[in-house]
């Protein structure tokens, strides 16, 4: 089975490890592919560094957007969509969560529960996410670096989001959200965490393998110009 981790950050943004270190770690853990998501302004530099590293696995360059409001988010998404394989929106603010779910150009909404007293998603958001193919992320790092009461809150909120997504049919991905090589985990451990939080085991496996693979392939087809519009693809 092919495993993917879609949310990694390197030294170019807030992370502490270089691109080469992240790739080495991913190879060790048996990932088939990873996506390194840095700030929009570093995208070109990131692509160069990936080329220099000469990875044995699939490595793609993505963008993680941390916007102040929904308008800024939309502008940045429109600007980077043509270049980035994966566009992740860093959630937390309800306005941004909702705008990300309503935008078909966004691939993943990361940690919608960050810094909130509830999950940050309602049924309106998740219905829109299901319609627009926006995947909701289970962020492992949110659990790794919180303790006691805060971790308990995060566990509750993520479990609630998983339940809502299951009920309303939105797709989910499990990502490590790592900002360095010491935050990365074996794919099977991420799946175990998803399973503990209420996903069925097969759904948890899909969230770390087939769902991310589908997102990457869809975007590759779009970027290479093979996909004309949603549902129309140039085959021959």
């Amino acid at each position: 089975m092919k495993f993917y981790d879609l949310d990694l950050q390197s030294k170019l943004s807030d992370g502490e490890s270089t691109v080469a270190e992240l790739i080495e770690s991913a190879e060790r853990f048996g990932f088939s592919g990873i996506v390194i998501c840095d700030k929009p302004e570093n995208l070109r530099q990131l692509k160069e560094m990936i080329e220099i590293a000469k990875p044995k696995i699939e490595v793609y360059a993505g963008v993680k957007i941390e916007a102040k409001d929904a308008n800024e988010m939309r502008n940045v998404v429109n600007r980077v969509r043509e270049d980035a394989t994966i566009v992740i929106v860093s959630g937390g603010n309800y306005e941004i969560n909702r705008a990300a779910c309503e935008n078909p150009k966004v691939d993943i909404l990361a940690h919608p529960e960050k810094g909130r007293i509830e999950g940050g998603l309602d049924d309106v958001c998740i219905n829109m996410a299901a319609k627009n193919n926006v995947a909701i992320e289970v962020n492992f790092r949110e659990l790794l670096y919180t303790y006691r009461r805060n971790r308990a809150y995060n566990l509750t909120h993520i479990a609630k989001n998983i339940e809502l997504c299951k009920e309303l049919g939105a797709s989910m991905v499990i990502c490590s959200g790592a900002k360095g090589k010491w935050d990365m985990r074996d794919p099977r451990e991420l799946i175990a965490m998803g399973n503990v939080l209420g996903m069925e085991l097969d759904k948890a496996f899909a969230a770390a393998s087939t769902v991310p693979q589908l997102i990457i392939e869809r975007n590759k087809a779009k970027l290479e110009g093979r996909m004309v519009t949603e549902g129309v693809e140039v085959v021959g």
Binding site: E189, L190, V196
Partner: protein
């Protein structure tokens, strides 16, 4: 006083052995690994959950040179223990990752399968 009599196999608790590997910056010994895993299990599952998981970090099975070892737990709580082990970020003073190599029903099978050890039965 005689010793505790062995419970018959049908009445014993079912268990699984988790083979793990510690990836760390510097060398770590068994005591710090055991403490780190226990700390994580109690933090994540709580005292009651840890009691139900029936975890036991086996001392004799730890290989300090390769940093691999075996942990025993109840067969129903493998996923919980696995998630708890993933939340370890520090062992002793060193940053570390505990990675599960695999799960097995006996210690012998775990050693053969995941540590690459051989016994005479491997050649039959």
């Amino acid at each position: 006083m005689s010793d505790l009599k062995t419970i018959p196999p049908t009445l014993r608790d079912k268990k699984r052995y988790i083979a793990y590997e510690v990836i760390s910056e510097s060398k770590v010994d068994f005591d710090s690994v055991s403490n780190a895993i226990w700390y994580s299990i109690i933090n994540f599952l709580g005292e009651k959950g840890a009691a139900e998981a029936d975890a036991w970090v086996i001392k004799n099975a730890y290989d300090a040179s390769k940093q691999i070892g075996i942990l025993k737990c109840s067969h129903t709580d493998v996923e919980n223990v696995r998630a708890a082990m993933a939340l370890v970020q520090k062992v002793g003073e060193s940053r570390a990752i505990v990675r599960v190599l695999g799960i097995s029903g006996t210690i012998k099978a775990a050693r053969n399968k995941f540590f690459g050890e051989k016994d005479l039965m491997s050649y039959v």
